[in-house]
Subunit: 146 residues, 2 copies
DNA sequence: TAAAATTAAATTGTATGCAATTTAATTAAG
DNA sequence: CTTAATTAAATTGCATACAATTTAATTTTA
């Protein structure tokens, strides 16, 4: 068996599916004028009132090279504020504006709207999510124990 | 249950795992001076002697906006040739150079080297690949039947 | 067959990702 | 207490992704 054939790859369908899911989200997110990574940032900030850039990066597995310009664009859209921490001037704290907080109402229908496009039953979808989450966690550990 | 929480998302672990897997490949691909998308292009061209940009896009689910500059970079690295089809001048046909063909030897160890970093047994990995492939295919169909 | 529609790449513009470096602030060590 | 090491963001540079448009070639159709 030729292991260098596309059909024998695990990561190609992972890569392609990830992009396809983002494409499924896009028309829904267009209504909120958000990209998918920006939607993820909104989600962690709806959940946690105030987070540093590092905190957001730890949750989304993104570094400041990605987050700094992304957060600046979100700030330009009046969704959030970025302020230096008083206690530690190295840290930038991010909080949502009222506009950003209010956007959660407009986003409330997105999870269900998205769900409709996924051709999996509830049980399979949950099992799939579990597999992904466990593999993500385990791989993260594996990599860090280098 | 708040469906707008990060932990309740299916697509976040998909998105994060996809990027993490690419990061696992990177040190292996560095030896070949390839990025992950370039590696995928090499793979389809090792398998098929000649492909149009459209063919490559159909296999990798990428459009000419992504592929044209990517293929130009690979051409600059002497990995492939791009020529207009004689029969249909709209079509650009891509074939590997001898250098590109020869690179398969240097790539032969990559699948196994990569496999070592994935904390899953053979059976689970195959099952995971199947799930991904089926969901990719089904979602593709769902989207096209819009 | 000539105009209209379609198709394949390329181009343009914007938004990630990420490696590598830089800057500024804080902490650790001697 | 002062220097060295570390840390958090920002910056720089490069490579995807992808929407939207453009260009050139081919097909369709009236």
């Amino acid at each position: 068996m030729d292991l260098l054939k596309l059909e024998n790859q695990v990561c190609f369908p992972l890569y392609a599916l990830s992009r396809m899911m983002t494409a499924v989200y896009q028309p829904l997110l267009d209504e909120l004028n958000l990209t998918y990574p920006q939607y993820l940032v909104m989600m962690v900030l709806w959940e946690h009132r105030e987070l540093s850039v590092k905190d957001i990066g730890a949750k989304l597995l993104l570094d400041s090279g990605t987050l700094t310009p992304l957060l600046k664009r979100m700030q330009e859209k009046q969704l959030l504020k970025r302020t230096r921490s008083a206690g530690d001037e190295r840290v930038v704290l991010v909080t949502l504006t009222q506009t950003g907080l209010d956007l959660k109402t407009k986003a409330a229908h997105i999870p269900n709207a998205f769900r409709c496009h996924i051709p999996l039953g509830d049980h399979e979808l949950l099992a799939f999510k579990d597999t992904l989450t466990k593999l993500l966690t385990k791989t993260e550990t594996t990599i860090n124990n280098n």
